[in-house]
């Protein structure tokens, strides 16, 4: 089953404000733009962007498109930080459809985020994804803080047959990351994915610790980690932007992964994040098993965000 079907199945179970609004309102001649705007807000897009999107959609509609198409186009623009790609999309190129794989920039990926968003599970999924692509993968259980945080990744490593570097509970996360990065370089694994303890972006000391972990990796393996990916829970509201800002300031994000899109959450807060920080979205998480990971596709994301009939677009 594709993730879109899963999403749709999810949607079928709940009454979606947005679905009804878009469908019902789009058929009438008089479009209630204000209601559409608030419906976007209900998808966690945020009031500021919702207003912009609606303005843009109004303009778009003057050229004769349907309300839904106009909204999709306006939303897609917001999700395309790259001007050139935006133009290409405008002239009809479907940019994500042909994309098969998301390649990491280097050999080490560090995964960060607030508590409970799905970092550890996502690492398991990423491990499987890159393993299937023929890479030799290793894990580092850098969450030495939360009770059984390391054990959790250890279990996944065992299930997937991925070697997992585990340090002592309560130990120094920098030391675990250093050892794992050095071991990766020595053994020549293609990819090392490093877990970190969940932390609120407002906790100064823990953000400093994260910077240190990143620095230390570079000492063991020059130039790494080339990727730092933020995991974001789709259920997060406007605070998600604040999270992304702070993590970006601290460790320089190169990508975002949104989890739990198998629920009824839409993950609309991605729009303000992409618009403000220009950090690309890499993957979406759609379940609790190792295979529940998909490369991100902006057009599909927008269709799911608007709900309703996926094939109509």
């Amino acid at each position: 089953m594709s993730w879109f079907d899963r999403l749709r199945r999810g949607l079928g179970k709940t009454r979606e404000v947005l679905t009804t609004d878009v469908r019902d309102l789009a058929t009438g001649a008089n479009v209630d733009w204000e209601e559409l705007e608030f419906s976007l807000v209900a998808a966690d897009v945020g009031a500021g962007i919702a207003a912009d999107v609606v303005e843009e959609a109004k303009r778009e509609r003057e050229s004769g498109t349907s309300v839904r198409e106009a909204l999709e186009a306006a939303l897609l623009d917001q999700l395309e930080p790259d001007r050139r790609r935006q133009t290409l999309r405008r002239v009809g190129f479907d940019l994500d459809v042909a994309r098969h794989r998301v390649e990491p920039a280097g050999k080490v990926v560090m995964v960060v985020g607030v508590n409970g968003v799905g970092k550890t599970t996502t690492i398991a999924k990423l491990g499987r994804y890159y393993q299937e692509a023929g890479k030799s993968v290793a894990f580092a259980a850098g969450d030495t803080f939360r009770a059984a945080g390391s054990a959790q990744l250890g279990v996944w490593g065992e299930r997937l047959g991925i070697p997992t570097h585990v340090g002592p509970d309560g130990g120094d996360p920098g030391a675990v990351a250093y050892d794992a990065a050095a071991a990766r370089a020595a053994r020549g694994h293609d990819l090392l994915i490093i877990d970190t303890a969940g932390r609120l972006h407002t906790q100064h000391n823990l953000m400093e610790e994260l910077k240190k972990v990143k620095r230390v990796i570079g000492k063991a393996d020059e130039g790494e980690p080339k990727d730092v990916w933020l995991v974001l829970d789709a259920v997060t509201g406007q605070n998600g932007l604040q999270q992304a800002r702070r993590f970006h300031d601290a460790v320089g994000l190169t990508g975002v992964i949104v989890t739990k899109l198998d629920g009824s959450a839409k993950g609309g807060v991605l729009l303000p994040i992409v618009r403000e920080l220009g950090v690309p979205i890499k993957f979406i998480g759609v379940g609790e098993s190792a295979e529940d990971l998909q490369p991100y596709d902006a057009a599909a994301f927008v269709r799911a965000l608007l709900g309703g009939d996926a094939d109509a677009a």
Binding site: D44, R146, Q152, T202, V235, G240, S264
Partner: protein
């Protein structure tokens, strides 16, 4: 983007300033802003709509409280409504002398397991005898996580086996209780999506088997518009008797709290305020309402300050301003830090946020540096700052990973503070001033 809901609400409402009687149009346009502000704070759409309707009904032509200007009147109404929405007074779950079974539930990653550990810690300290039940057989190592917490708190744990039937769990629980008297059973369950029918059925079956006396829904304070369907579905399927709001130590604006109480009609018992076992506080609706409005969480601040003052009395601040030493400064600083980050403290002081220029942030890094410098001094240096000659300053800079300039600046600030204190000395209070 606006700093917080309070600023935004006040901005909206201030447009009414200078009017006499409020016309419907005045109120309508201000309230549209209020609605947007609530949405930006993650208040659920339906809740925000209802809310605005109620305020509108009360505010139009409102002539109550004639001592207040129109804008103050609306603020007052918004505030009272917010408080009413959050459920008036602080409520705690009822505990019987025996047979308490609390079932924890919520989405994946909401903070259930950590909350169970905190509740066990809290109630053990109050003389209760908790037993933990680890029923999350789904997530790898979830039961191990709870076991580690049980060990730390010093309470027993019963681990549910993979695929165990609820009736079996109930039988094992009864057997355990016959053997060892326990008056508070805390059941941790796997996180689940509210739309996952199969897992909701499983939860309902476990619920029916163990017959909880409290059903606690744990909600992440950072949740957006999903709070509404989540709370609604858990309430409809299982029944929610109370709420726990986790991760309140972040900077989320509190919309989840509003929405969850609104839809379930149940109180928020507790707020999670750190990852540690003691990071659980009784939830005070009136304080949160104040904070959302940006009127400052004065009550919390005062309470914390009072507790610290007591601690300081036996903690040894040398009382007279002329004796104020660097040791006192370090002590004061640590006390202040216990009250929370400076950003947090600012948020509790009415108007403080507004006085800060836009974008200005309290430099927590600077504070960390000051503390590092003070920690690198010897006791003698801290009590007698005169000792600090150039070579000592160099040593301190090296030891604290700062520069001599940093050390010099700190000492200058200290001297300025001391002077200030001598002036203010008559009040007998130490101002929290270490400049910057």
């Amino acid at each position: 983007m606006f700093e917080n809901l309070g600023d935004r609400l006040q901005g909206a409402i201030q447009s009414l300033r200078g009017r006499g009687r409020l016309s419907e149009a005045d109120v309508k346009s201000a309230l549209r802003e209020v609605r947007v502000a609530l949405l930006e704070a993650d208040v659920a759409l339906d809740v925000a709509r209802d809310f605005v309707k109620r305020v509108e009904a009360e505010a139009v032509g409102s002539e109550t409280l004639m001592s207040l200007t129109p804008d103050q009147r609306v603020i007052r109404i918004v505030r009272d409504e917010l408080q009413a929405l959050l459920g008036g007074d602080s409520v705690q779950p009822e505990l019987r002398s025996d047979g308490n079974v609390w079932l924890m539930m919520g989405l994946q990653g909401a903070g259930k397991t950590t909350t169970v550990g905190k509740l066990a810690y809290h109630f053990k300290a109050k003389g209760r005898r908790p037993l933990l039940v680890a029923a999350d057989t789904q997530r790898p190592a979830a039961r191990d996580q709870l076991e580690v917490l049980a060990d730390r708190v010093g309470v027993p744990i019963l681990k549910v086996e993979d695929g165990e039937a609820p009736a079996t769990t109930k039988a094992r629980l009864d057997a355990a209780l016959r053997e060892d008297f326990r008056d508070l059973v805390l059941v941790d369950t796997a996180g689940r999506l509210e739309i996952d029918e199969a897992l909701m059925d499983e939860l309902a079956a476990l619920d029916a088997a163990v017959g909880p006396t409290e059903r606690l829904l744990v909600i992440d304070a950072m949740t957006g518009q999903q709070t509404l369907p989540v709370a609604r579905t858990f309430d409809a399927r299982i029944g929610v008797s109370g709420l726990v709001l986790s991760k309140m130590d972040g900077d989320a604006r509190g919309g989840a709290a509003l929405s969850a109480t609104h839809v379930t009609g149940r109180p928020i018992y507790y707020a999670g305020t750190s990852e540690k076992l003691d990071g659980l506080e009784a939830f005070h609706p009136e304080r949160i309402a104040g904070r959302i409005l940006g009127m400052g969480d004065v009550l919390t601040l005062i309470e914390k300050a009072e507790a610290l003052e007591e601690a300081a009395e036996d903690g040894g601040l040398s009382g007279r301003p002329q004796d104020f030493s660097l040791a006192d400064m370090l002590h004061q600083m640590r006390q202040l830090k216990k009250m929370g980050s400076f950003g947090e403290i600012l948020g509790m002081i009415p108007g403080a946020k507004k006085m800060m220029p836009a974008g200005a942030d309290v430099d927590e890094g600077e504070l960390a540096r000051v503390e590092a410098i003070l920690s690198s001094m010897t006791d003698a240096e801290r009590t007698t700052p005169r000792l600090l000659d150039a070579s000592r300053r160099r040593r301190i800079a090296r030891g604290s990973g700062t520069t001599v300039q940093d050390v010099n600046r700190l000492i200058k600030n200290y001297e300025a503070t001391k002077k200030m204190m001598k002036k203010a000395g008559k009040t007998g209070r130490l101002p929290a001033g270490f400049g910057g």
